[in-house]
Amino acid sequence: MTTKSRLAKALSTIKTGDYPALMTHVVLGYPSLEKSIELVQVMAENGASIIELQIPFSDPMADGPSIMGACEHALSEGVTPSDCLEAMAKLSSKIETPLLFMSYYNLVLNQKGFAKAASDTGCEGLIVPDITPGESKDSFFTECDSENLPVIPLVSPITSETRLKQIANNSTSAPFVYCVSTTGTTGARDKLPEELPAYLNRVKENFSVPRALGFGISEKKHIEQLQGNAEIAIVGSAVINLIKESSNPNTEVANFIQKLSKK
């Protein structure tokens, strides 16, 4: 199987109403480049359906303290975007789980031909929160299109009906839609917002692709609450926090991912 079809295959098995599939996240370079690569393998072996690899940036606008701290640490380890491309290539040849890159637009802009480079390493999609379709004159979206590299659209609870339609129209090749749970940055939270079902229903009316819900998911009960409202649950900061406090992160992350990924 080429890497290009892994994501499609993973998504095709996900049905609305089922227990949500799990999408996990690492910051490449946290706690070190090698260890973050290992963590991706651990996640893949223990039930993650999709994994997001974040390329650390100095000024991560959409990230809360956990991921921001992890990025600062990764940069102090000297991790560069080229290291991240290499890590992606290595991982995509080792594991079957579809992999995405997450980063900020400045790094993409600075790396000439990033879309092609990312695509060549087996990356199956990009999440770049600080550029939105329809708001920019840049060739970023067309470059990704010509590489068949989807840019995952993001929506928020305050995205209007008109904009939901517009975003859906602007991203017809999107494999799924990333629904931000709340107004805010990334970070583990105790509770999911109450208006979530109504919001996710509005998203469903505008998008035919699976809905992935992220920002704030930290426990199994959150994922259970999403059943029927979202097809994918995204866990980021909670894992970073776990790694930070753990003397044996691989084992603890394995247990955590196993628990979250099974009904």
């Binding site: 100095s58 600075n110 993001l154 107004t183």
Partner: protein
């Protein structure tokens, strides 16, 4: 004249290739709401009336345009005039866009204000308008800046604002903008981000230009009144770029007027020792806009160095990037050392205390004046007054008596608390 098409943004908020709206989806509705509010306010006579009234009676406009006779004579060349924004309420030009934006916030029904500040002048002006218009005020300030501009922290708190020190990154203005953006992302439903310079995602650069352009309009009419000419040069310091845009805007289409922006040369030209974006910066997208950014080869934003917190910033407003590439504005820089010298020169010759930021413009005027004939006129925008820099001047300029005083006062302070 001020509404020239050539230098206006396109429908996406780009000046040439710079600017734009690189913001997360969650901020797009707020940016659209702000843009609509701004466009309708500009056409509303009631809004304009309220703005004019506040400019006159609250800010104290027009601020004076003062001929620096002693300094001009001493340098023996062009005549130097000073546009004294230091005499505006709260001590700097920042109050111009703060008054404007607080009226927009009121119009949108927002009750909570979030802001960033570098030198503390924008934070001080924001705290003041929040107190006056009954808004809840939260100011982010790099921890390093909060220390070096401590008097402004004290006054902001006295005015009722919450000042939140930012410990991330270089603990400077860039990190404060980042933190303020995150607060806005979180509280966007009820908050207005009162951004403090001509930067950030569209429409912020345009909004602040609109409220700052009064400075250049006054320069023009005051100079015509005083000597019946246009200036030959207008000079301003450039952090994010609001005071410079304010001073330049009226003259953008007057090709005879040469415009010079002065960046922070810090400790010197070596990488990482200054904040001169046009000397080593590269096009990037950070904090919501595309412009020149000081960054490493991979695109990580670099730390900056400047004695002035207000210019110690790795990015520069997008209109400046455009004006730079167009060759309409020339950009130079002044080092920390030159700046301290210029503060002293202005104080001794003219009895005016300049903020460290504004003194960057003075350095350029002092360099330029002797090379020009006596019939030439230079206007320097003195964006702020120097009181906030007491502790920095105290360390660099004064005799040991200031240090002795601080030490003795600290002792007494400690004792009086027990």
């Amino acid at each position: 004249m001020a509404e020239s098409k050539k230098y206006q943004p396109d429908q996406y908020g780009y000046y040439g290739e710079y600017g734009g709206r690189y913001a997360p989806e969650v901020l797009i509705p707020a940016l659209e709401e702000l843009e609509e509010c701004f466009e309708s306010a500009k056409k509303d006579p009631e809004f304009i009336k309220e703005l004019k009234e506040a400019q006159k009676n609250y800010i104290g406009r027009p601020t004076p345009l003062c001929y620096l006779e002693n300094l001009s004579d001493k340098l023996g060349g062009a005549k130097i005039y000073l546009k004294n924004e230091g005499l505006a309420h709260t001590g700097a030009h920042k109050i111009n866009h703060c008054v404007g934006q607080i009226l927009l916030a009121k119009r949108m029904g927002k009750k909570r204000i979030v802001a960033e500040t570098g030198a503390g002048q924008h934070g001080l002006a924001t705290s003041s308008v929040c107190a006056r218009y009954g808004m809840d005020c939260h100011v982010y300030m790099g921890a390093r800046d909060a220390d070096r501009q401590r008097p402004n922290v004290f006054w902001m708190e006295t005015l009722g604002a919450e000042v939140i020190p930012v410990h991330h990154g270089g603990k400077r203005l860039k990190d404060a903008v980042n933190a303020a953006l995150k607060d806005w992302i979180t509280n966007v439903r009820d908050s207005h981000y009162l951004l403090g310079s001509c930067l950030g995602p569209h429409p912020f650069p345009e909004i602040n230009r609109y409220f700052q352009k009064v400075v250049g309009e006054e320069i023009k009419s005051q100079l015509v009144e005083q000597q019946r000419t246009l200036p030959d040069y207008v000079i301003a310091c450039v952090g994010g770029g609001s005071n410079a845009i304010g001073a330049f805007n009226e003259f953008l289409e007057e090709e005879s007027v040469q415009l010079i922006g002065v960046e922070a040369g810090g400790q010197g030209p070596e990488v990482g020792q200054h904040a001169a974006r046009f000397q080593g910066g590269r096009v990037g997208v950070v904090e919501g806009y595309k412009s020149y950014w000081l960054q490493d080869e991979h695109g990580q934003v670099q730390d900056t160095v400047s004695i002035s917190a207000g210019l110690d910033y790795a990015g520069i407003g997008p209109l400046h990037a455009f004006l730079h590439d167009q060759g309409r504005v020339k950009y130079t820089s002044a080092t920390d050392k030159e700046v301290l010298e210029a503060v002293k020169t202005l104080a001794e010759n003219e009895g005016i205390l300049s903020a460290l930021e504004s003194a960057h413009g003075l350095v350029e005027a002092i360099r330029l004046a002797p090379t020009l004939s006596k019939d030439k006129t230079i206007v320097v925008n003195l964006s702020g007054r120097g009181e906030k820099d007491l502790f920095i001047f105290g360390r660099h300029l004064s005799s040991s008596s200031f240090r002795e005083f601080i030490e003795r006062y600290a002792e007494e302070f400690k004792e009086s608390d027990n």
